[in-house]
Symmetry: C2
Subunit: 499 residues, 2 copies
């Protein structure tokens, strides 16, 4: 196996760095023959599974149940909610036939024209329509509410420009769809799930996020209000990490979903939906990784500690391997079940220790330990942190406790580093000249006043490619004047160029 070639440095070409990292760390690749679709490789999928487990646990803790709704949506369903169809009909995969047959000329397969569907089916871009068409049958009275359902699924949105994890034609996600008797309960649900996402991003992904509400122009098609969490990537671009929508009664009206209140009145049901996707993988990669490769926060790392045995001959090998196994066992024993430390011994005889060090660095394993004859003699083992490259020696007997602490330290340090980066790159800007310049050097979040009109928002976007990421929820009112028109503004909003 050749030596590990280095990644293109971020400073040279951030986009090339990202693409190379995704490929070289075995996270994902483009699928040949299926434009814009991705193959999520085992190592990348293992990180996604960790994300799923954390999120799924939190959905359950907040009272939700999983279910599964069909992949296909009848074309006519999409048309029922006016804004929704505008948003999704433009970019969807359409199933028109249900059979192939051999071409008469023997050249392969052709679509069988006799097998045309009466009504075309759309591969779901999101499931509000088919779910609300179902909720109509499930909901009779206030006693049937709330309905708190989540599904883990694949969805398809036909994208012309795709990037692995960040924007792909097919992606994996979860979508929560809830039904409530009152507006305030639905509003609370939308905000609760935004908080679940924010805590997940900050606690598990070590990614600080801004909670906010989208402007009308950036709202989910069919929503009354779209809440979001926004993260800042290392290149100064924003990434929408998750969204939670208060849908009002829009889908209930579109699908005629009413319920009888306790007072026996018939009313439309209130709704929310909320989702995060494999886009989280893109956010994770871009939030923490460096020129040597991926950095995975310990809580999401499929492998938290890699042990590299070092030996020159079979005698040394036997002693070192046995010590490595004991070390691994002692590390694993620091937790039970899912909480057990995730440890790998890299026993591959085909690779040198140096190659392995670079490889596990590329894959972002939080802590590396190496163990050789000298370590056995001294009773000390070397550890190296992936994030800071700090090294240390630890007596074998204390390794488990030290590594457990190291993992906690790495998790905290990654969050602090990302937070410091974001704070250093968040600028209050009050004039449009500075606004434009700030977007380039260094890029980041810009807090600026906006006059509240879609017109101004659109012009700023056209002129600078910056969009209003959100109106932050926790920002205090601060009267000012729009950075573009000078018209009065009640508070600053968050601008950035975004993924």
């Amino acid at each position: 196996m050749a030596a590990n070639p280095r990644l293109t440095p971020r400073a040279t070409d951030y986009s090339a760095w990202y693409n190379e990292l995704v490929a070289r760390a075995d996270l994902a690749q483009h699928a040949a023959g299926v434009k814009g679709c991705m193959i999520i490789k085992p190592y990348g999928y293992a990180i996604w599974e960790k994300m799923q487990r954390f999120l799924d646990d939190r959905f359950r803790e907040t009272g939700h149940q999983n279910a599964y709704f069909p992949l296909f949506i009848p074309k006519s369903f999409l048309s029922k909610e006016a804004e929704h169809v505008e948003g999704f009909a433009k970019e969807c995969a359409v199933v028109t036939h249900y059979r192939l047959k051999a071409a008469p000329d023997g050249s392969g397969l052709i679509v069988d024209p006799a097998a045309r569907l009466e009504e075309e089916l759309i591969v779901r871009p999101t499931s509000e329509t088919i779910i609300w068409n179902t909720y109509r049958d499930w909901i009779r009275s206030y006693r049937d509410l709330p309905i708190l359902i989540n599904q883990w699924a694949n969805v398809v949105r036909w994208e012309m420009r795709t990037r692995l994890f960040l924007r792909t034609t097919e992606f994996l996600w979860q979508e929560g769809h809830t039904a409530h008797a009152t507006e305030s309960e639905a509003q609370t649900e939308a905000r609760t799930m935004l908080d679940v996402y924010a805590r997940f991003a900050e606690e598990e992904m070590a990614l600080p996020v801004i909670r906010g509400v989208k402007t009308a122009a950036e709202r989910f098609p069919g929503a009354v209000e779209t809440y979001c969490i926004e993260g800042l990537m290392q290149d100064g671009k924003a990434l929408q990490v998750g969204t939670s929508h208060f849908l009002g009664q829009n889908f209930a009206r579109a699908f005629d979903v009413k319920f009888l209140t306790a007072e026996n009145k018939s009313e439309y049901v209130w709704a929310t939906s909320w989702g995060v996707s494999t886009r989280l993988m893109g956010a994770l990669i871009m939030a923490h990784s460096d020129d040597a490769g991926l950095i995975v926060p310990p809580r999401l790392a499929p492998i938290q500690v890699v042990i590299v045995p070092i030996y020159k001959n079979d005698t040394e090998r036997a002693a070192v391997s046995s010590a490595a196994e004991q070390l691994a066992a002692s590390l694993r024993a620091t937790g039970v079940g899912d909480a057990a430390m995730r440890v790998k011994i890299d026993n591959d005889d085909q690779k040198s220790p140096g190659w392995k060090f670079a490889e596990w660095e590329l894959k972002g394993v939080p802590v590396r330990m190496s163990i050789g004859p000298r370590d056995l003699a001294s009773g000390q083992i070397e550890w190296v942190r992936r994030d800071t490259r700090e090294k240390g020696l630890v007596p074998i007997a204390e390794a488990a406790e030290t590594v457990r602490r190291l993992l906690d330290d790495v998790q905290r340090a990654l969050f602090q580093r990302a937070l410091a980066m974001r704070e250093a790159r968040t600028f209050c800007v009050d004039d449009y000249d500075t606004f434009r310049k700030r977007l380039d050097d260094p890029a980041g979040f810009i807090l600026a006043h906006w006059d509240g009109t879609a017109e101004t928002e659109r012009k700023i976007k056209e002129e600078t490619k910056a969009t209003i990421r959100c109106i932050p929820l926790d920002a205090p009112p601060e009267p000012g004047r729009c950075v573009y028109t000078g018209a009065p503004s009640p508070r600053r909003v968050l601008f950035a160029r975004a993924y």
Copy 2:
């Protein structure tokens, strides 16, 4: 809420019983507007998730990793393996366009003719083709082998006659796809995974299965050998529970996947694939349930114990609820994490205890406990087993131990009952008259001699609707004469009518 109407008894109409049970136990329903697709409701999905967790753990224990491959398969990929295309091109969902637009007459949405795909995409009916097209890039030398990958995914096979869980247009499944350097290693893998499935069926589903190999006519399209496990349902029909295919080098040849051996020779890679699907839910329902509803084996039950508090006034209610909470806590404490006992207290004020008893019986919860003022006074609680309806009293302090034992007993008893049923309904038959009669009263498995020809197999199928479910793997050689033609036969094979 109305009283619980009874299900149609199995003896009256088995098929109606099944359909009613699936609906009434809140397992699944048909999706309106999407022919043949199903909605898996939260309670049904929770059972499926338990199945997934067990299987996933066993896949990992046997060295497999999860990954994800695209939903769409280019039409041309399907054609590459001659038998595969025969088997799957006839019943597939074909994506021909990637955009809808507003109809000029304002009548809704139409397919945008300008957005026609150059090559149609097939919604995966199974993923051998796209995966082997990818493995070509992943495999260079014997050092890249084996590749042991599984994916959890949705697949689509266009079915004309559908039944919830048993045969649906879209279904959920896992599909393992492995690549090996040698034929024997691939054969071992196919058999290992068959064993994983068989153990899962018997230990978790409490469903005894026959392990066997399919005849050529019943083989997976593209396989050299298809191994299967077959279960017998209560109506005497067989159900194929899972399959594991030894694919030989068929897909490696079709997709040109070669590797360099240690001796530097270029050879085609050997393959397996194996899968189980939401069909397992159908098997689970039909293996154990009775006229009162579902019976879920404790190891797969989302709720293992339901506690129904009984009270007449608020004072009683307070005392009983508090005791129920304590009881639940003591039951849950008998295991940690995933092993914790799954207990629900049914606190619904809108329903009577009698209604709740019937409801939880319908939903198949293995053990029901009720707790009222008299129980508090006596210090004893009543338990009822779902499978046998046996009842007993247990002192509160001993409840946890007793219920833990009861759950084990129910799990064992369900397996034993299903096994006894199968044994009572498995017949050695040596003449065709008896063969035909046996299929009707009572139906079941028939072990009979077969001359090994596809012709005889086809005729028997046409005349009796019975198929060869498999050639059992553990059946000893036993020379005899074909039940249909009288030609020599080396061993009995397993016939049945099947789902």
